[in-house]
């Protein structure tokens, strides 16, 4: 508009200065053009706009369908331009995010488009809109408050079983043998019959051996446990190579582990170590699963000097003698803190994605590569064997392998043996 107006005025000034009406008449079409555009400019456009998501929580890989609905509540607008700027992490799969529309008064327009994105919480900013006239010279920029947020949860393959055996259980029936007699299915011991014992509990073989008094069978109580999952979010642990990050294996692993444990009925908490200490207080059930998944969706690797090593890992945060599951590729010097956790009475299960196998795939061939990989493997094997000797259950996880299968092959159905109090590590 400014260009056209400047051109017309320039011609008029030249025409006046040169006293040539012909030049002024050349400027007239431009002024008529501006005048017609001005006449058609919408004075008070009013719109109602709605942006809806098919689901506010989806998993990685799922398509997010956005539906935009516009209702013209004012006069007719010849050109209505709408642009929905997507968060940069989301990619358009189908449809378009920009449209130019003509809607009569009371008219409605609805359109859909599909996007996809990685793990995270994404906020859609207000839509950019302007209403203009046919020539496109005059526009009225409009604001909308159709703000929306979508959470892309980590996708994971469920784990069939995760046998754990912490030193302490909590007082509700669950899947973990508690080393106490009570209701259960596994044989625990025998004791003299006490009035009130059901007849089917009488161990007739033992009674036949000790004829003077009847003997009852005792079963081992199976209970629930407190489990704390610690996910290592330190920058040095989140190796990234050619667009792939080790974190994108660790986060789904944490989600799968939490899901399995919550399904088994345990009380599960989650701590992200690295971005300060992000902590989901222990809880049960589906709501806790949602909380954990939401925290994992937001998890990003961060670099804080204070959290470069595990020295600030809060060892007293989790209930005493509970089960800890530490998911980390490990860096040297981490073992001290893990031993300290063990020394505080926690039962520690380490799930360690193998960073060497992960990196090896993406490194171009080099004469010394094979030797370097061998040395790195030796160093890692030494670190892991030290941890195993210190009573830590270690699952060395090459990320190409499915975690559930690996857990099954390492831990089997039966939980790892539990060290009795006072036993040597």
């Amino acid at each position: 508009m400014v260009f056209l107006l400047a051109l017309a005025l320039g011609m008029i000034v030249v025409g006046l200065a040169a006293q040539r009406p012909q030049i002024i008449s050349l400027a007239i079409p431009l002024l008529v053009y501006i005048g017609l555009a001005l006449n058609n400019t919408p004075e008070n456009p009013r719109w109602h706009i709605r942006r809806e998501l098919n689901d506010s929580q989806v998993q990685v890989g799922d398509q997010i369908t956005l539906t935009l609905t516009l209702i013209n509540e004012g006069e007719a607008v010849k050109e209505l331009w709408i642009h929905d700027s997507l968060p940069p992490e989301l990619h358009l799969i189908e449809g378009e995010t920009t449209r130019l529309l003509f809607l009569p008064p009371g008219g409605t327009h609805t359109w859909e488009y599909q996007v996809k994105g990685g793990r995270g919480v994404y906020a859609f900013t207000p839509l950019q809109m302007w209403a203009g006239e046919t020539f496109g010279l005059f526009r009225q920029v409009m604001t909308t408050d159709a703000q929306t947020e979508v959470t892309v949860m980590p996708a994971y393959t469920p784990i069939r079983s995760l046998p754990i055996r912490p030193a302490r259980t909590i007082g509700f029936a669950g899947p973990i043998p508690s080393r106490q007699s009570g209701t259960g299915v596994d044989f625990f011991g025998v004791r003299p019959y006490q009035p009130g014992d059901p007849l089917r509990r009488i161990n007739w073989r033992a009674t036949a051996r000790y004829m003077d008094l009847p003997i009852s069978t005792e079963f081992e109580q199976e209970r629930l446990a407190d489990v704390g999952i610690i996910l290592d979010m330190r920058r040095q642990s989140a190796l990234a190579l050619r667009g792939r990050s080790l974190l994108e294996y660790m986060v789904p692993a944490a989600a799968a582990v939490a899901d399995r444990l919550l399904q088994d009925g345990h009380r599960v908490g989650l701590m992200l170590y690295g971005q300060g200490i992000d902590w989901v207080t222990p809880g049960y059930g589906k709501i806790q699963r949602e909380r954990i998944l939401l925290t994992l969706a937001k998890a990003r690797p961060t670099q804080y000097f204070a959290f470069e090593n595990l020295n600030y890992l809060p060892t007293r945060l989790f209930p005493a003698r509970s089960q800890l599951i530490f998911i980390s590729p490990l860096v040297s010097e981490d073992e001290e803190m893990i031993f300290l956790l063990r020394a505080h009475g926690y039962t520690v299960l380490l799930i360690s994605p193998d960073p060497i196998a992960f990196e090896q795939d993406g490194i171009p061939p080099h004469p010394y590569l094979e030797d370097a990989v061998r040395l790195a493997h030796l160093e890692r094997r030494l670190l892991l064997s030290q941890l195993e000797q210190g009573g830590i259950t270690v699952i060395n996880w090459p990320v190409q392998q499915e975690l559930g299968e690996l857990i099954h092959s390492v831990l089997g159905h039966s939980p790892p043996p539990r060290l009795l109090r006072g036993a040597r590590l």
Binding site: P29, G35, F138
Partner: protein, 163 residues
């Protein structure tokens, strides 16, 4: 669906070149006729390479027309040529703007646009002939007052348009 718009764009650009060049040829200003032809080719060349040469094209056509008045080209040819160039400039912008219009909506947009262009043609031709027919004797003070009024009106207009 955009084909009729492209056709109209090329036709209006060709009309602008033909009208301006014909006027120049009739006034025996060969060089100006050649320049108008070159400007038209340049505009099409820029458009086909995805660069909008519309603003530069319209500016050059207008400057050429202003020069044409000085060298005796008939103003009727020049005004008609400028109107055709203005239509080409408008359609150049339409071709860019309407890439976000749904296929099925294009005829609706096109009809509304054609109606507006028709109004432009009629009004522009009528009003452009006025300065040629009217002749007023004004005192210098009055002209100064009008100029002041025009400046204030213009600034108010730009402020309003900016809002």
């Amino acid at each position: 669906m955009m084909k009729p718009i492209w056709t109209t764009f090329y036709l209006s650009l060709a009309a602008a070149v033909l009208l301006l060049a014909s006027g120049s040829l009739l006034a025996e200003v060969w060089q100006l006729a050649g320049l108008f032809a070159l400007m038209g080719i340049g505009w099409v060349w820029g458009k086909q390479r995805g660069r909008s040469a519309a603003a530069a094209g319209l500016l050059l056509f207008c400057l050429g027309a202003v020069y044409g008045t000085a060298v005796g080209v008939s103003v009727g040819w020049l005004v008609s040529g400028v109107i055709a160039a203005l239509v080409a400039w408008d359609l150049d912008s339409v071709l860019h703007r309407w890439q976000f219009v749904r296929e099925e909506d294009i005829p609706l947009f096109w009809q509304a646009h054609i109606r507006q262009l028709a109004r432009l043609l009629v009004l522009a031709l009528l009003l452009a002939s006025l300065p040629l027919l009217l002749s007023l004797q004004l005192r210098f003070g009055l002209i100064l007052g009008f100029a002041l009024l025009a400046i204030i009106a213009l600034s108010q207009f730009i402020r309003w348009a900016g809002k």
